[in-house]
Amino acid sequence: MKKLRLLSLVALACLAAAPAHAGWQDKLQNLMNPESKEGKILSGATRVVSSSQEMTYQTECTVGESLALESMQRFGKPVADEALQKYVNLVGNSVARNSRRSTIPYRFVVLDSQVQNAFAAPGGIIFISRGLLNLLENEAELAAVLSHEVGHVAEKHALKSIRRAQFLQGAATITAATMKGSEGKKFESMIGDLQSTLFDKGLDQGMEYEADLAALETAYRTGYDPTALVGVLRKLQQEEATAAKNGSWFSTHPPLDERIARVSAALARYPDRAGLAKLPARFAKFVKAGKGGKTTK
């Protein structure tokens, strides 16, 4: 009888353990599926491992600063409106701290250019042109554009797109001293490649779609209505026929129809998005007030 009781207890224990065991097996199997929770954890871990082979943050900043200098040569200086620059930095930093790469400092800059564009330099310096800013209607739309660019910085899209650059084949670090020698030449050549990618050819289409999805997630997590990204894309679509294409979002980004379709489908992930912040009045106070915008001397 005692044996029977013991057996029944063991059987009960096994039954209770069975779902746990099955769950464990499932979790193990799920590791192979990149879309599963376990797969995402594994990919996060492997990302950390592989990142030790990548460029250091300090060198990434040097790349970003150098590219920032070239960006201003091409598109113009920052708009001389400190209140506007501060406002855009506040919106940008609000979303950046909820992005997948929240621990680095970000800078956001409004450039005095009528070409409708926004782009991100590695390391976290993000530019938006006065032309694109003027097209927007509220703070949620600005947050959507800046979140898209933060997504590129977080996933290091620009650096991934120039993986074959000679500089990255070597030590991939730079100092003021080595900048003067052959490493400096390779570095300069890499900055040239980055300009051509960001301003003319555009990033890989997959990276743009990835940044769009990241923008929805980041804006939503911050508390902005993610639907605003669709609003921005639709406005760009209306502009497409007449806007200057060279160096703009039109020439460097995938077709707007496809982006709108993908973003609209992804919005289903945020069923409680209605009622999230849009803030047209605060946006108008800072952006519409100095719409002309002057450059600093």
């Binding site: 063991v10 224990a13 871990a45 950390v48 030790s52 990434e60 930095n89 506040l90 997948r100 912040a277």
Partner: protein
């Protein structure tokens, strides 16, 4: 009697294993995240949660989640500040994996940034600008861009003013 105790222990073990394996993990991905006593931004803080901290989800599917920290503290965290995937780790000196290195690299990036804002653009970028013959005016613009820092306090006040996220009513 001993056997019964063994059986009971086995049962407990199995139940515990089931619970442990079904527990869901969330990672803190946002700067300035705090553990609250209640589901409100104005509730008292139980702990500051660093980016990369692992939390066990206890309950909640809405905007606030009840979680347990690694050192056993239970409280509420705003859902927008955690994710079911780990945040991107920074590449500092290229040492270490996970946990400690993530926190160390955050310190490195903070140091790098405060040094940058004091001296403006880095010596490496200054050398690049010399070689490229970049106009002085543009170097000064970049200095201004790098000096324009936004503090955590300013961001919180900005979100509060706009009634955004956890400050929404």
């Amino acid at each position: 009697m001993k056997k019964r105790a063994l059986g009971g222990a086995l049962l407990l073990l199995a139940l515990y294993a089931g619970q442990a394996l079904s527990a869901e993990t969330r990672w803190v991905v946002s700067e300035g995240t705090t553990l609250k006593t209640e589901q409100s931004v104005s509730a008292p803080n139980l702990a500051d949660l660093p980016v990369g901290a692992e939390l066990t989800l206890i309950e909640g599917a809405g905007r606030w989640l009840k979680v347990r920290t690694a050192d056993g503290k239970e409280g509420w965290v705003y859902a927008g500040r955690v994710s079911d995937t780990a945040p991107v780790a920074e590449v500092g000196g290229g040492d270490g994996l996970l946990g400690g290195s993530l926190q160390k690299s955050q310190i490195d990036t903070a140091k790098a940034d405060s040094a940058r804002s004091i001296r403006g653009l880095s010596p490496e970028t200054a050398q690049y600008a010399r070689q490229r013959g970049t106009p002085e005016g543009l170097k000064k613009e970049l200095d201004r861009i790098l000096a324009r820092k936004v503090s955590d306090k300013e961001v919180k006040a900005f979100l509060k003013e706009g009634k955004i996220g956890e400050y929404a009513q």
